[in-house]
């Protein structure tokens, strides 16, 4: 088994801007992404992960993971999301070095 070095961009932000963030990801040329519901505590507020009925559901948080094998592309995604959204919406983004199988899936 041969593992290949790749980059994983993680963006934790508000569900309401998910569509716009995904447009940026697609626009930068990434081949895919994974979105999962997220909760926790940050500078703006406590976000719950409970099943409790919430009157304003769109303010839930999500975690988006994007695997790319091009460092410049990873930087471009992070930069564009930060410039477009992080002044007004809560969010964090970070980059991880990872190892992947089947690198052809990501290019």
């Amino acid at each position: 088994m041969t593992l290949h070095v790749a980059e994983k961009v993680v963006i934790i932000t508000e569900k309401i801007i998910a569509k716009g963030v995904c447009q940026i990801i697609d626009g930068c040329g990434a081949t895919g992404y994974t979105i999962v519901p997220a909760g926790g505590k940050g500078s703006r507020n406590m976000r719950s992960t409970t099943e409790r009925a919430s009157v304003v559901d769109d303010f839930a948080n999500i975690k988006i993971e994007i695997i790319v094998n091009d460092y410049a592309m990873a930087e471009a995604i992070m930069d564009q999301v930060k410039d477009k959204y992080f002044n007004n919406y809560s969010g964090i983004t970070y980059l991880e070095d990872i190892k992947i199988l089947r690198p052809e899936k990501f290019s």
Binding site: N45, T50, E51, R52, A53, S54, V56, D58, N87
Partner: protein
């Protein structure tokens, strides 16, 4: 003096209605740290059910209604939505400690309409046997959409002035589209269309109508729980929001009651319709308004306007305004 005593007695009786009981019960549960949770999916389903029922009933009634008699109430509804937003912006412009965008967003949210609040008003009117035209709830979008559009457009004009043209153009049609696509309005409009063009009388009578009250009581419980859970958010923003959120529903409702009374004498708008119109004005949006405002005025702090609406505005609209307007209608129109 008799008038006042009578008024107070009737007001007291309203507080014993189950609808308000469930609301206060929900608040108490959270205050006591109860672990009871009602799943989000159920909340969404109930909102759909209530709006479908309201839409179907409205649609079936519009089939036989005289469109001319809807005209003046519809115009009044639009005027109220616009006036509420302007009043709100005026109020917040006097308070220098509040960020302008937050003021615009809060005013917009209070101009928009809460479906659950007016559903509660409909049940209470039925309990008191005060008649209203079934098309009155269909006026909902006439207040909701102009209020949201106006608040977002004014906020963007203001932001543009501040930044010398750095912001993007406001897309008015985009805001209208987003409001219409929201879960509450889509269900209401689909219900209206089904009521108008099909004959849903059987499914309405055997399913939607009988379940309406029961589901509303659960919805009131959820609203109460949410109101109490959000109070801590309100504590983090300026106290002025709480002041505004307490008095605005009463003032907006009285304004609408006055205009509705004029319509009553001019075109025979029913007393129940006047109450519903007033409740619509008193309510602040809880389902469709916040996401629309969040994307329309992204720099406004959602804790400010949602906290103000959910934890103060809505409970005041349900627990104070509805009983008050019903008793006013009973006293003024003698129904």
């Amino acid at each position: 003096m008799d008038f006042l005593a009578d008024f107070l007695l009737r007001l007291l009786a309203q507080f014993q209605s189950p609808t308000l009981g469930f609301l206060i019960g929900g608040m108490l549960l959270v205050a006591c740290g109860s672990k009871l949770t009602i799943p989000d999916a159920i909340y969404k389903f109930i909102v759909f059910m209530l709006l479908m029922k309201i839409g179907l009933k409205g649609g079936m009634e519009i089939r036989d209604a005289n469109l001319a008699e809807m005209f003046l109430p519809a115009v009044i509804t639009i005027v109220i939505g616009v006036v509420i937003v302007l009043l709100g912006i005026l109020f917040f412009s006097f308070i220098s400690s509040i960020k302008k965008e937050d003021g615009y967003a809060t005013a917009g949210l209070f101009g928009a309409v809460s479906a659950s609040t007016f559903a509660a008003a409909m049940v209470l009117l039925e309990e008191e046997a005060i008649a209203y035209e079934a098309w009155v709830p269909a006026l909902y979008p006439f207040m909701d959409i102009p209020a949201l559009v106006l608040a977002i457009v004014l906020a963007n004009v203001y932001m543009k002035k501040q930044q010398q043209g750095n912001t993007t153009e406001v897309n008015v049609w985009g805001i209208i589209k987003e409001s219409l696509q929201g879960s509450a309005l889509s269900a209401l409009i689909l219900g209206l269309a089904l009521g108008l063009f099909t004959t849903p009388d059987k499914v309405f009578g055997s399913f939607y109508e009988p379940l309406f009250r029961g589901f509303l009581s659960i919805l009131m419980l959820i609203m109460g729980m949410e109101a109490y859970a959000r109070i801590h958010e309100l504590k983090r923003v300026a106290q002025w929001y709480a002041v505004y959120a307490f008095f605005a529903p009463i003032i907006h409702g009285l304004l609408a009651f006055g205009l509705g009374t004029l319509a009553h004498y001019w075109v025979g708008f029913s007393p129940g319709g006047v109450v519903l119109l007033a409740v619509m004005a008193a309510s602040s949006s809880d389902i469709s308004g916040p996401p629309t405002l969040r994307s329309g005025i992204p720099s406004a702090n959602p804790s400010a306007y949602i906290g103000a609406s959910t934890s103060v505005g809505t409970p005041v609209a349900i627990a104070v305004c509805i009983p008050l307007f019903i008793v006013m209608a009973q006293t003024i129109f003698e129904v």
